[in-house]
Subunit: 503 residues, 2 copies
């Protein structure tokens, strides 16, 4: 396979470096006419770069005519005689000039296309086409990162948005305080009171453009000099955020009930970031006893805090609901967080936190200079969506749907002679469970095999944030998220899982 | 006037403290039936707290029946005989319980109100009413913080939003990379190419929920250990953001051409945050010579960067356009920033930055774990708005409007016997100019007087971020932003300015 030394890039973008290497080999005749180029994925793996880097390099070569593509086949080297006489600006030039030149070439070849929406460079068009292709390649996503288009209430949302755009024009243009407009904060307070039995005042509700953004606000509020404790296993992303703020963080181990209290004490952290309602990826629902242990921990020192990340409590499908830490807290040092990215759509970017009374004045004093990061259009629309009962209906519809998919999945696995040898665990909480199989194969090999068959899934081992030993103890365990699977697809998904694991 | 010692609050919220003090005085009979309470503003000034704190305290007392209001008069003490028998939960209790109890009381007294949208506590209803009142009190806003409802293209926006909600459902639910979806980034790159003569590739465009959020990303990217230089005078908010990230910042002085190069060299900063296209509040448009000085400064050391904040370049009403620093930069260490909050609406929360090629890889490596903070709904809508030429039309309409308002303002001031003695300066750039008058009165006194007459404005002195000496040299200079004034209001605004300054 084609190989280039990518460590040789000098400040320039990696994709331009690869582009240059291939281009030079084509122009010099080293790569001859109609030679097939390696597939994007294998080439990326070979070079040790991301798929998107190779994609970008190929896109640029395509845009400039050095390679061509055959549908469902791949990319081929353009014969020397047909090579474009490229404008000098395309050689050894910046990204920006290439974009401009590509746009100009296209304009020239299609002078009749005058509407601005069509004025996109070949690179952009290639991107768009490519996005479609990738969608088709992955048929079933078991990572929980995407949601099904029919899971979002588009028509209600459009109706509420339209009403606001015509009825609330003055309100929509008025800057909102950092925590959001009163309407959305009161709607969330009412919702938590009615459906989560939490007593919250609107003033305590702070909304923001996603949970990640709110983590940043909390770090700024509590201070970067605090030491933060993160669950292990857990989301690598959360660790990256703390590190991006230069905040010290330590990993805290989990046992069968959630946070391991010995590990927590030993870590010496001041702020614990935890998801007792439903841990990801282990799926643990922390029992009451352990919740009280956590509250005792936070009560023991005045500078201790808990960030309770309740990201998918709305989607609990079975088992008794457990009170949040915030509900049983008497210290005033539990910050509750939740999000609409799981329950509604990840792309509307609205999350919220509930500040305890004790932190409210400090927040208002220290952070009120910030503008709210959620557009007021979305704030009023979501306030109506909650206040008029649409959210409740939406959740009921989603829960019914997910319950059916889950039941079908568990039953199909049970009835499958091979898969029924595996062990399903922690299926009580939100929208995933763990599936463990004995296998000599490497976790990442299995995941790659699944991908080839059209299934995107992740091994548990990927979520251990520290050393290799921990990885080994979780070997052979996979996370099965079923939020983007339809009931009628379950049989096929299980068949593909069988082929992946035992085929 | 009523006076309480607000330094005595013990951890509780300031407004609840004030609420408790007043309530105790009412219940003890110290404040007798039908006694008028001080106006919110004078009471707040007297206690040294913000208006909103007093508002909240009054709102809570109203909600619980301890005080009542007369339209256009104010608040009065409820006679003892009519005092509510308050539920015990309202005494010595948390914000949350008060909200709950107030909601329950209201539900009880209006059992027929069953729709959820009406289920708001008296506190919430009071807030809503109050918001309306405040709007009416301030008739003319010369601070540039709000925009006129008819300045936003609601019908086009609603049309594009509706189209996307029905045509792009799958795309809308697909997570976008941290920099935004390709469509909006390409649309911005095309726009900058066509209208600002800047050569930019879509990959270099990073969008985010407001400029403040992007500052935070830049600080995380360049590092909190860098020293940052801020313009003085300038926005206090920018300084607060850097400080909130624990980044060292120094103030750099301005001369008639913009950044004072001696002050910049003396400051020893590594990253300069500047707005050469149109400084706020001084209104300076930095000439080419000084721009080259700035590029020479950044070129002199490898770890120097410039953050070029081009926040209102679209709204230049007169004078020749000047190339951006980014356009004349050869070092690859100028980060260009711009926003749609000035040119479209502050509440849609979309800003963008253009990373130089040299920072792109670092950004993608270090920051790509973040999700984009702009909802995909807004991203696609704005992409269409730009790509189909609506933004261009909108800007033309706004420029025409603002030009007329500006001309009318300047002419009215010139024809006013008193105001024509003042000096107008730096009216060439975006939507404000400076107005200087000789006055023995204190700047803040003048601003308070203006507010009573219905005009909200700010003195230049408020934007000096360091010592008092600088304040003195700018005494008597006021910022006149005319973006939320209609042409037919100009005569009245000028009359009120006259009354404020010479009445």
């Amino acid at each position: 396979m084609l190989t280039y030394d990518v460590s040789k890039t000098q400040g320039e973008s990696l994709y331009l470096y690869i582009y240059d290497c291939i281009r030079r080999d084509i122009e010099s005749g080293k790569l001859t006419a109609d030679t097939p180029l390696p597939s994007k994925r294998s080439f990326a793996a070979n070079l040790g770069v991301s798929n998107i880097t190779v994609e970008n390099a190929y896109a640029q070569l395509m845009a400039e005519g050095f390679i061509y593509s055959k549908p469902r086949k791949g990319f081929y080297v353009t014969p020397l005689s047909e090579l474009p006489e490229s404008p000098s600006s395309l050689q050894n030039d910046s990204l920006a000039n290439r974009f401009k030149a590509a746009g100009a070439l296209r304009k020239k070849s299609n002078p009749e296309q005058k509407t601005r929406v069509d004025y996109l460079s070949p690179l952009a068009l290639f991107y768009q086409k490519n996005k479609r292709q990738d969608e088709n390649e992955i048929v079933y996503d078991l990572t929980g990162r995407s949601s099904l288009p029919d899971s979002f209430p588009f028509s209600i949302w459009a109706k509420l948005m339209r009403e606001n755009l015509s009825m609330k024009q003055a309100d929509l243009l008025m800057p909102s305080p950092v925590g959001g407009v009163y309407e959305i904060r009161a709607a969330i307070a009412n919702y938590l009171q009615d459906f989560r039995d939490m007593e919250v005042a609107p003033e305590q509700v702070i909304i923001g453009a996603g949970t990640e953004y709110l983590y940043g606000l909390i770090i700024q509020l509590l201070g970067m000099d605090k030491s933060y404790g993160l669950e292990n296993p857990g989301y690598a992303k959360i660790k990256k955020i703390y590190e991006s703020f230069n905040a010290a963080c330590s990993l805290v181990e989990m046992d069968n009930c959630g946070i391991d209290m010995d590990s927590l004490e030993a870590s010496g952290v001041q702020v614990l970031h935890t998801s007792p309602t439903h841990h990801f990826p282990l799926g643990i629902v922390t029992p009451m006893k352990r919740r009280h242990d956590l509250i005792n921990w936070v009560a023991a020192e005045n500078d201790r805090y808990i960030i309770e990340d309740d990201y998918d409590s709305e989607l609990r499908l079975s088992g008794k609901p457990v009170p949040s830490l915030r509900s049983i807290d008497s210290t005033g040092r539990v910050i509750y967080m939740n999000t609409f990215t799981k329950s509604l759509a990840s792309t509307i970017r609205i999350s919220y936190m509930i500040l305890p009374d004790g932190l409210l004045d400090r927040f208002n004093k220290k952070m009120s200079f910030y503008s709210c990061t959620v557009p007021s259009f979305e704030q009023y629309t979501l306030a109506d969506f909650l206040g008029r009962g649409y959210f409740e209906k939406h959740l009921n519809r989603m829960r019914t749907r997910y319950k059916k998919v889950k039941a079908a999945l568990l039953s199909e696995i049970k009835n499958n002679p091979q898969l029924s040898q595996g062990i399903i665990s922690n299926a009580d909480g939100g929208l995933h469970f763990l599936f463990h199989v004995e296998s000599v194969l490497d976790d990442e090999y299995i995941v790659r095999k699944a991908k080839k068959l059209g299934i995107l899934m992740a091994p548990l081992s990927r979520y251990y944030l520290d050393d290799e030993d921990k990885n080994k103890s979780s070997k052979g365990t996979f996370i099965i998220s079923y939020s983007s699977i339809k009931e009628e697809q379950v049989a096929e998904v299980v068949r593909l899982l069988e082929e992946t694991l035992f085929g």
